[in-house]
Subunit: 168 residues, 2 copies
DNA sequence: TTGAATTTTCAAAAATTTCTGAAAATAAAA
DNA sequence: TTTTATTTTCAGAAATTTTTGAAAATTCAA
């Protein structure tokens, strides 16, 4: 069927993109599967659709729930747990971005600040040069962070559009 | 020595960050090493400092040169090739971003556009829902791309700062 | 309680990615 | 040309990451 084919392509593409950017392929594929599903899915359905093991399915789902971009859904009269993806793109994209920033970028920024501080008083030209290199990275990152915060703290879905117009 | 320690920490941190974001650890470390070096370095010096093989060093350097963020430097009377990193943060950060966008994001966007087109005429509610999901991702990505282009095509180093002020 | 259904855990296997090192290719000097 | 220095390549080894699957833990109905 055509639609199922399109969904499969979406899942595969998403999985490959995830891999390239440090997100586990199965995690990305489960996310894509739930994004493209009309109804809540159980672990068994996810296992079957993606042809992955129970352990893998369980871990991947849990990670997505932890990220806050997939929700548990109880279905009356059914003991199994079901899962639904957050469908608002801006919402889930922001959550992924914020999560990765906190987990991976912020610790690096802390270390850079520390390195910057430790090399501040160095009087050798080698030391001064290195300090500038680190400081420059810091300054750029801080500026980017300020922009990101503005974007992420906004509630309006059309903020980005307004921003573009503003910039033109 | 204190400065050398700081440099080593910078190299290690950069390598770890690279790994988490899909950039080979050695590549990121060579980049960090050259960023923190005051003078051009030869392949042998890089091998020695990072304790990596000639093959690894050669491949990593070449990738950075291909990215356009490390330059070859000939030293008179010396047969060896030396390498220097682009020190302008905005310059190299932009090059990395543009390169990864072209190589990894653009092909995905093309596929999403194709999927979007292929599901446009679907009359089932399932098809309509999936089409909206894909379309939403596309729209957001196009908006982000427009912002990114604005940022990346600017020449002034303080553009980001101006932008922040504009947004406040 | 007990027991069946479901979820979670995690050691080991599989898959993937990265790295090595020696041989081949190339480039420059003699 | 021949020799020597340097760079490049790439098959196999090593390291890392991902996945499996069965046992343990948990949950809930009877």
């Amino acid at each position: 069927m055509e639609l199922q084919e399109a969904k499969q392509q979406f899942i595969d593409t998403w999985g490959a993109l995830g891999s390239e950017w440090g997100i586990n392929k199965s995690v990305a594929q489960v996310h894509a599967l739930l994004l493209s599903a009309s109804n809540p899915m159980s672990t068994d359905e996810i296992m079957e659709k993606l042809v992955i093991s129970r352990g893998n399915a369980n871990m991947s789902i849990r990670q997505l729930v932890d990220y806050g971009i997939v929700y548990k859904k109880h279905i009356a009269g059914d003991r199994k747990e079901y899962f639904v993806a957050e469908k608002d793109v801006l919402k889930w994209a922001m959550k992924i971005a914020v999560m990765r920033k906190q987990k991976e970028l912020d610790p690096v920024m802390d270390i850079l600040r520390e390195i910057s501080k430790n090399t501040e008083k160095d009087k050798t030209s080698e030391g001064k040069e290195f300090h500038k290199t680190v400081k420059d990275i810091q300054v750029l990152t801080d500026q980017l962070e300020a922009i990101a915060n503005k974007l992420f703290n906004s509630s309006g879905g059309d903020l980005l559009l307004k921003l573009i117009k503003l910039m033109m």
